[in-house]
């Protein structure tokens, strides 16, 4: 058991190394020297040199203790990513953005999971009927509408036209106020794909032998559904939920842009439009680390809970 955990821990090292290598290749080798771009048009050679000095772009790429390659690793392992274009340290910006992003994604995510799992139970209950077909069709149709259209229509009708929600973020609004509409839109947009997935999970369970036994010994449907099926269907549901958690920290790129919520998605959009590789690099690295850590926790929890998992 301990050996398994240690082995699993060691296995994260090549992944973290891989992510660092990927970001290095992407932003330093392919991205290249962006000091001229940062300095702007008509900058003197001195300004450009200063910027090169600050970002370490004048150093050799490989093969030196002070090379860009080594510095890339150093900065990532110490979580010191330098400064963004507006001179604020990147790590501060990220810390500030986590709050609003989580306030948006956490209720959205759990809303989607709870609603779609309960609906999936209902749909699995009426399987094979017209309602089932209709539900699947609505799901597929919902998956086909572009996410952007959901956001635009929701913002236009619910906020702009009917005035139920604030249209845009402003500092004097409470968190619940500015987050309500984006959460609602996110839930509606995410329902289609999730409901379809959970329906398949439930239907798989419905065909198991224990369900037949439960019905055969005379249990009523509600009991079978909620006591037997739901419990067993929890395993794939929990796997999906836990693996999605690290992505919640990223916020929602598009929702944050439309509603002006100052979270990590918004930070990312700003970095894209100003081509700030350093911010994108930091975001990529941190989200990968979170994913690796959560994966590790899930695996260890499984090995603790489920006696069938072998420690090979």
């Amino acid at each position: 058991m301990t050996a398994y955990i240690i082995r699993r821990l060691l296995y994260t090292i090549p992944i973290v190394f891989g992510v660092l290598l990927l970001t290095f290749v992407l932003f330093t080798l392919v991205g290249g020297d962006i000091s001229i771009e940062i300095a702007g048009k008509g900058a003197t050679q001195e300004t450009i040199d200063e910027i090169r000095e600050e970002y370490g772009l004048n150093k050799p790429i490989f093969l030196a203790w002070d090379s860009q390659f080594i510095n890339h690793f150093k900065s990532a392992l110490t979580f010191d990513f330098g400064r963004a274009r507006d001179r604020e340290p990147i790590i501060e910006k990220i810390k500030r953005g986590v709050g609003p992003s989580l306030a948006l994604t956490v209720p959205m995510f759990f809303g989607v999971v709870i609603i779609s799992v309960s609906l999936a139970l209902v749909v699995a209950f009426v399987r094979g009927s017209v309602w089932d077909t209709l539900a699947v069709f609505i799901c597929v149709a919902g998956m086909s509408v572009p996410y952007l259209s959901f956001i635009l229509l929701g913002q236009y009708f619910l906020a702009y036209k009917w005035g139920i929600f604030p249209v845009f973020f402003s500092p004097d609004l409470t968190m619940a106020q500015y987050v309500a509409l984006p959460v609602l839109i996110g839930i509606v947009a995410g329902l289609g794909g999730n409901l379809r997935f959970y329906r398949t999970v439930m239907l798989d369970e419905m065909q198991s032998d224990y369900v037949r036994t439960a019905f055969a010994k005379g249990l009523d449907t509600t009991r079978v559904l909620f006591k037997h099926v739901l419990k067993n269907a929890m395993i794939p549901i929990i796997t999906r939920v836990v693996l999605a958690i690290p992505f919640l920290f990223l916020g929602s790129l598009l929702l944050e842009r439309f509603f002006g919520i100052p979270g990590l998605g918004y930070l990312m959009i700003e970095a894209i439009s100003s081509r700030d590789y350093f911010v994108i690099n930091a975001m990529t690295y941190i989200s990968a680390i979170l994913f690796v850590v959560f994966n590790l926790i899930t695996d260890i929890c499984y090995s603790l809970v489920d006696p069938r998992i072998s420690f090979e």
Binding site: G18, L148, R275, I280, T284, S287
Partner: protein
Amino acid sequence: MSDSHNATRARLPRGRSLWSDGLRRLRRRKLAMACFVVVLIYFSLAGFIYLAELFDWRIGPTLWAEQVGESYAPPSSENILGTDIFGQSVCRKMLYGTKISITVALCASFISIAIGVPLGAIAGYFRGIADEIIVWIYSTLSSVPYILLILAFAVVLRDKTIFGYRLTGITAVYLAIGLTSWVGICRLIRGEIIKHKGRDYVLAAMSYGCSERRIIFKHLIPNVFHLIIIDFSLRFVAFIHAEVILSFLGLGEADRPSWGAMINDARIELSRGVWWQMAAATAAIFFISLSLNIFGDALRDSLDPKLRIQ
């Protein structure tokens, strides 16, 4: 002896291949076939626009830049879907956007198949150190959130000159999508090849001295090829949506109309009550996504009844 042999032969029904069997099952699904027709219409429209541009035909979609009315004219008999801020026909822009989206999704599919299938086959067939390295590469890629990875690639590749070729507009978009999307197919193929490697037909091929390349490309890949087709009929939708999001974020085609750019325009227009540009782009995306989703599901059920969603 020979007579009885022939008689047995006549009684046996003719065998059907996987493909003819699958197609037979697919043809029975009327809705799926209707969706296939819709997909074909989109593809032929994109092909037709390519031809029209090549031969310089002066037809609607290639003349999208022409001013056909006043700014923000609502839909009328003259301009079916109204006009945008420059007085350009929204309908023409929508038709032209088909070409951009289909091109991006097709190129991205080809790139990710070209990377994912051989790598998956090598990893699954040879195992050992090659497997370790390939699994390491895709585990690394899949530990970064998909949308973030695409964005990072798109931002970096945009307007870069690689081997003297400048990556503008959609080239950077489909490279970004293709280079990041091969992980799923690689994992799938690797798993299948590991399963197939122990089967009798592969052992037979090995025993009569087939080269490894021949076994992989002539025996194994054709036997898992239907999985690739199924996977991509469903993944194509994701590529189209990714292109829309990238164009919307300003990382896509800059000079020519695309669905994502139309939705981006609509962001400001909606508050003025100009809904037609938004409606046109949404409808265009909706119908191809819906058709591909339904057709892909039917294809999966017909070609591989055992396979389930995810």
